[in-house]
């Protein structure tokens, strides 16, 4: 039994120009103690998916199951237990912490609400948690406000808030994209350290394959394009042998910290495919695809298993080059 199952979920947001689809028949599952990374550009639906898994939004169609129970049907005690078991770390630590609350008041109430410690033990517990996330474990620190902290420290507070409830699943939505490069690894390492200590699963949302590669390690990646799941597989497999052209384009777009390689890639770059609307009929990616064929215009390719656990929604997955080609073996 999987920890989370996303079962044929579709969702729309209303706009003045009609309903805009954000998730289109998404199926995925996340096992206990596993890492699943969701990758895609801004607006691909990855944050909406995360919101649904934590119960902040209900899908218009389909079901989200946690521990084999439909999340939409949870009430009372069960709902409370679910909300404790699934925690979230947001992208922007400048927006996710209430500026009017001290660190103590940011972290404390939820722990008490869920009855994890007695009130008189709370301060000791908070100081223990601060130490756990690598913050200054003192009473003075508990009295600080978010504006007195750096971005990295704030994100550690946000992580402390999630971990203090001893969750079984953490949804991390771009947890490092607002941080300095030098802080990113430390935050990723911190998240990974919790996974070693406890039975903990991650739904990791990001647009950055570099960060995803570091974080996912033995986990899995799903790639989304305008609400459609276009590729899914073991992390290294998807990064080194992408089998959907969109994954390839995302990998190709990543800036590389190597000026020589950057110049070679620039020369060899295939034409830009960063714009082009999602198609309503046929393959959703056809308007951006460098390998498009007439067949792609008429029917939608299903998500098909290619090798063990590696699935792609493309009629011509073998045309997609491997990553070593794209990283400069010219």
């Amino acid at each position: 039994m999987s920890l989370v199952e996303v079962d044929n979920v579709s969702h729309w947001y209303p706009t003045t120009a009609g309903d805009r689809p954000v998730l289109d028949q998404v199926n995925l599952s996340l096992e206990h103690d596993d890492i699943l990374a969701v990758v895609g550009e801004s607006g691909c639906g990855k944050t909406t998916l995360g919101r649904m898994v934590v119960g902040e939004d209900a899908p218009a169609q389909g079901r989200i199951r946690f521990d084999d129970r439909d999340v939409a049907g949870l009430r009372g005690k069960d709902f409370k237990a679910y909300r404790r078991a699934v925690q979230v770390v947001h992208q922007d630590p400048y927006a996710s912490l209430n500026p009017g609350l001290t660190i103590e008041d940011t972290l404390g109430p939820a722990i008490v609400h869920h009855g994890l410690v007695r009130r008189r033990e709370l301060q000791g517990e908070l100081i223990r948690i601060l130490a756990e996330v690598g913050l200054d474990a003192t009473r003075a620190f508990l009295r600080r406000y978010p504006h007195q902290l750096s971005g990295g420290q704030r994100q550690r507070v946000a992580i402390a808030r999630a971990m203090s409830l001893r969750p079984r699943l953490v949804v991390a939505d771009e947890p490092t994209s607002m941080l300095d490069v030098s802080m990113r690894l430390a935050i990723l390492d911190l998240l990974l350290s919790f996974r070693e200590q406890r039975q903990l699963a991650y739904l990791f949302i990001s647009h950055d394959f570099g960060v995803v590669r570091y974080f996912s390690q033995a986990g899995r990646i799903v790639v989304m394009f305008y609400g459609v799941l276009v590729e899914e597989g073991p992390a290294e497999q998807v990064i080194q042998h992408p089998r959907h052209p969109y994954t390839y384009l995302l990998l190709q777009a990543i800036p590389v910290p190597d000026p020589g390689l950057a110049r070679r890639r620039r020369r060899a770059a295939i034409e830009e495919h960063t714009e082009g609307a999602p198609a309503a009929v046929g393959c959703i990616f056809q308007n951006r695809c460098p390998f498009v064929e007439p067949q792609c215009r008429s029917s939608r390719p299903p998500l098909t298993e290619l090798t063990d656990g590696h699935r792609s929604a493309c009629f011509f997955p073998d045309r997609v080059p491997d990553v070593d080609h794209l990283l400069g073996a010219y």
Partner: protein, 335 residues
């Protein structure tokens, strides 16, 4: 590469302080750099290293209470500090233009982009022969930043994506024909595809308009993709400067720069090849004695905790401020 032509922009021994007296914080301290015509110059560093303050000083728009306490910035040999208000206005409109950080949030939300461009053209009505030629030039710029002209004129900012707004901001910054474009974190907060687009657009604008570009970033991968020359700042000071290849491949480099490069979770790197930098950036109010990076530095020795290392350039102009690294440099010339 030695700079043979006159720099279009030079920063000379610049110190910018916030506050006064012994409690003053020097956000930028004794920084010198020269931007040659046609350079794409990157200023790199982490939050709080002074890179944005340095960029503001290039337009003389340092937010108060910050002020230049020594040194100066010169554009084509003229010091900004000696200019009158009208000369500065002339400079900011016709010579140096800036795209601020989060420029995507710098539009007026209650009026169209087109209306805001009209306002700009009206305020600078001497730049173009007619309003129509100004509008036509903006259309041309929109084409260069790969945006659909008609739609942008009619749009309100909330109708555009972050990546589109960033490119509109770049087009607006170029409207009055500046020769120097300064960008503060031009790709931050964009997803990879929009980052790639902005990088390509900037590279093309640089080539087709003959611009000199200065950009500020914390992302070394973006530096490798775009820059020709690089200056790295740490806690208000310049720790290394050189060509982009020197910064990334020269064996002689500052330990901070080496650490920063290996801290990037790049898609090129297997998990084990990257490692975080230990410790934290020092508080500018409580700087350590000696080298500011010494408390985090794997190479630090006794001297590093006593004396601040000078910036020493080799024959090609590649400059590094590190006692340990410069020890091996015999024929160095002190700047």
């Amino acid at each position: 590469m030695t700079v043979t032509s006159e720099p279009v922009l030079s920063v000379n021994d610049l110190t910018v302080a916030f506050g006064a007296g012994p409690g003053a914080i020097k956000a930028v301290e004794q920084v010198s750099l020269q931007v040659a015509p046609g350079d794409i110059y990157a200023v790199v560093g982490e939050s709080g290293c002074g890179k944005s303050t340095l960029a503001y000083s290039m337009l003389d728009v340092i937010p108060p209470p910050g002020r230049v306490t020594s040194g100066d910035v010169q554009v084509r040999g003229r010091a900004l500090g000696s200019m009158s208000r009208s000369e500065l206005n002339q400079l900011r409109s016709a010579e140096v233009s800036m795209v601020f950080q989060a420029a995507m949030n710098s539009f007026n939300p209650v009026t169209t982009i087109g209306r805001q461009v009209e306002d700009l053209l009206e305020a600078h009505n001497r730049v173009f022969d007619s309003a129509a030629s100004g509008r036509a030039y903006f259309d041309e710029l929109l084409g260069m930043v790969r945006l659909p002209t008609e739609r942008i004129w009619r749009s309100y900012e909330h109708q555009l994506s972050g990546g589109m707004k960033q490119r509109v901001a770049i087009a607006v910054a170029l409207l009055l024909h500046p020769s120097i474009l300064i960008l503060d974190e031009p790709t931050t907060a964009l997803d990879v595809l929009n980052q790639r687009l902005v990088l390509d657009v900037l590279r093309n604008l640089h080539a087709s308009l003959g611009l000199s570009v200065v950009f500020v970033t914390h992302d070394l991968a973006v530096v490798a993709e775009l820059a020709s020359r690089v200056a790295v700042m740490y806690a208000g000071r310049l720790v290394e400067s050189g060509t982009v290849d020197e910064i990334f491949t020269d064996e002689r480099r500052h330990p901070y720069v080496a650490a920063l490069i290996s801290a990037i979770p790049s898609v090129l790197a297997e998990g084990l090849q990257v490692r975080p930098i230990a410790g934290q950036v020092p508080n500018l109010a409580e700087l350590p004695a000696g080298c500011r990076f010494a408390p985090r530095c794997p190479l630090a020795r006794a001297i590093c905790r006593e004396a601040e290392p000078p910036l020493v350039a080799d024959r090609t102009g590649h400059a590094v401020a590190c006692h340990v690294v410069n020890e091996k440099l015999v024929e160095g010339t002190v700047q």
